[in-house]
């Protein structure tokens, strides 16, 4: 059953399966992974209580 929690669990397992390299989700190319990490680092996280 697709859900936010199941998607997060899948991604957590994916990251663990690749030695903690979360950017591999974006690309297998190391240079593209660096760009991905850079872009993610600029994102302002916000805590919300409604959608």
């Amino acid at each position: 059953m697709p859900s936010v929690s199941s998607a997060m669990i899948f991604k957590a397992n994916y990251i663990n399966g690749h030695g903690g390299n979360y950017a591999r989700w974006f690309s297998t190319d190391a240079s593209k992974q660096a760009i991905y990490r850079q872009q993610l680092s600029t994102i302002t996280s916000k805590i919300v209580n409604k959608f």
């Binding site: 974006f26 297998t28 240079s31 593209k32 760009i35 850079q38 872009q39 994102i43």
Partner: protein, 157 residues
């Protein structure tokens, strides 16, 4: 007996050929489908007017190519622009188009988002909303290309 063995061998080889060809055909179909699925189809017309644009927008570019040229010539993250990327329209409402900037992930056969832009036709603004949609970063862009994108992609002001 030798004739029968020869006939069976011919049948076997023919059958192998048929089995082998099927997955190749499927692969070609998949590639074609994936390409078709990402292309924005619009009736494009050449625009006779000329401007100071660095990109030759009258050279038969389609909507997706024009969007790519607009982003590529803008002040959008130069690190991203070093790589091959694609720009597609994710949403269009209220005179604002949400553009998805993505790179191809060959392993997953999927376009992965690396940035999000908003193209405001009413205010003539190109905004980078990747970091914070609440505080978008205003980008510099080619004004002629901006107008061409609106016209060629059928965006309403």
């Amino acid at each position: 007996m030798i004739d029968r063995a020869f006939f069976v061998a011919i049948l076997f080889l023919t059958a192998c050929g048929q089995i082998k060809s099927t997955p190749e055909n499927n692969t070609v179909d998949t590639i074609q489908d994936s390409v078709k699925g990402t292309v924005i189809t619009n009736d494009l017309k050449s625009v006779p007017d000329s401007g100071n644009s660095k990109v030759n927008v009258d050279s038969g570019l389609n909507c997706e190519e024009l969007l790519h040229s607009l982003v590529n010539s803008s002040s959008f993250n130069p690190e991203v622009k070093k790589f091959k990327f694609k720009v597609s329209v994710d949403e269009l409402s209220g005179g604002v188009a949400t553009l998805k900037v993505s790179m191809r992930n060959a392993e997953r056969n999927e376009d992965m988002a690396i940035g999000w832009l908003k193209m405001d036709f009413n205010k003539n603004k190109l905004l980078d909303v990747t970091s914070d949609p609440g505080q978008p970063e205003e980008l510099k862009y080619d004004t002629m290309l901006f107008k061409k994108v609106i016209k060629h992609c059928g965006f309403k002001q």
